[in-house]
């Protein structure tokens, strides 16, 4: 029901009204920023998240259990708290000397924080199940490390990486709580799609808000379909 209400409101002005609302320069800028940053964030997650998962499964070091538990923190921490803390860290009076608040870099860093667990948590169990025998066999047959990784490990964990990336992407596109404080919300520069919707509601522009919301809704559905497809593909591999 709530979803249907968004869809109908977005088309209050007919298809043309919807198109006008979505293609208004500010809406386009906000949507583009959200999508581009989300792509970058999911790519960064794919590399660093995989490395982290690898470390948690294959490596042994003191304090590993704690590190493992801390990974989930961005899920448990309220997003507004995350935003406040990152603003304190990267803001004007930053103790580490980086002042990137109200820039796109800050948006990227913040989204990296909130999406951190996705790839780690989808790759970790697969890596855990993965037998090292195959890798050892490859190594004993003279394959060097890079080849072992790209030929043996990567194909196995790829579905995990992809679904983690998809989830991180969805989260990044829709994120609001952690961004309201740090992004500065300058139209055309640092206003992401979700904040745009928020501002339109407060400005009384329901059609504009609903139109951009429909785009985000479409992205969410696509992501869910994608994750479902990846999951099916992965299990088919297993049963074959």
């Amino acid at each position: 029901m709530p979803i249907a209400a968004v869809a109908t409101t977005s088309t209050h002005g007919g298809a043309a009204g919807f198109w006008d609302a979505v293609s208004s320069p500010e809406a386009v800028a906000a949507l583009r920023l959200s999508l581009v940053v989300a792509v970058l964030v999911s790519l960064a997650n794919a590399v660093l998240g995989t490395a982290t998962a690898w470390m948690l499964v294959r490596d042994e070091f003191p304090g590993k259990r704690v590190v493992n538990a801390v990974i989930d923190l961005p899920f448990a921490l309220p997003t507004i708290v995350a935003g406040l803390v990152l603003l304190a860290l990267y803001g004007p009076r930053s103790p580490v000397g980086v002042s990137i608040a109200y820039t796109r870099t800050a948006i990227f860093m913040t989204l990296l924080f909130v999406t951190l667990p996705f790839v780690v948590r989808t790759v970790q169990p697969v890596l855990h199940e993965l037998d090292t025998e195959m890798e050892e066999a490859a190594r004993s047959l003279g394959a060097h490390e890079l080849k072992v990784f790209t030929r043996i490990v990567l194909p196995n964990i790829l579905p995990g990486i992809l679904s983690g990336m998809a989830l991180a992407f969805a989260r990044a596109v829709g994120e609001i709580g952690s961004l309201v404080l740090i992004s500065g919300n300058l139209p055309f520069r640092t206003e992401v799609a979700s904040v745009f919707i928020f501002n339109q509601i407060h400005g009384g522009n329901r059609t504009g808000a609903a139109a951009v919301a429909v785009v985000l809704l479409g992205v969410s559905f696509l992501i869910l379909l994608l994750v479902g497809a990846i999951r099916r593909l992965a299990t088919r591999h297993e049963s074959a």
Partner: protein, 259 residues
Amino acid sequence: MRRYGVRTVGLGYLAIVLAGPLSMIFWKTFEHGFSPFWHALTDAESIHAFENTLLITAIAVPLNTVFGIACALAIVRKHFPGKGFVNAFVDLPLALSPVVVGLSLYLLYGRGGWFYGVFAGHGIQILFSLPAMVIASVFVSLPFVAREVVPTLREIGDEQEQAAHTLGASGWQTFWRITLPAIRWAVIYGVVLTTARCLGEYGAVSIVAGFKTTATLQVQDDYENFNLAGAYAISLLLAAIAVLVLVAMMLAKPKEETA
């Protein structure tokens, strides 16, 4: 060599992305000692905000627990047309922006919305008041219990339930005696996640809250009114709850595996 390389990258990444921000909360909160923290936390506005948050959570969590278990049972044990659709729909709040959720409630219960007449006629205000905030929280925390319970239900199979049936147990008896004990850790895990999400929800609630506050909205409000002590104090408390949630999850997980 390679091992240390990966470890350096992994730990370095976590240090920058996670540990830095975390230590920051503590430093900022206690920058001027303990008493400003305590003052900010016990101020009437903060207390009121926390009361609202707790009330919303206390309503939303039981609702979603019951719904989540029912949903998981329906998805795993029953066959009905449109099952795939229901399955995908349960996950939707995870992939959907909370702002979109808030907006949809705003349009539904706001002036001119489909449900506006129904409730306004009876003098009940939904939007900009607690009911809308509860609905928003229920919506965004909907999937957690179901998602935790579904895989466990699949794994345990239905042999024991069928055995109970053949021995003459009613549907309820089977559920209470066989199914629920088997899925209890998954349920607890889901409830913990649901609670965390309800306590920390910002996006959806911020749109439908109007002048009402919750703990998370109060953080923003304090910050924007230059009451930094208040913002950091509430943040620290919320962060402490988050850490408790992590500890609870750590304790619930191994038991689930060995059970």
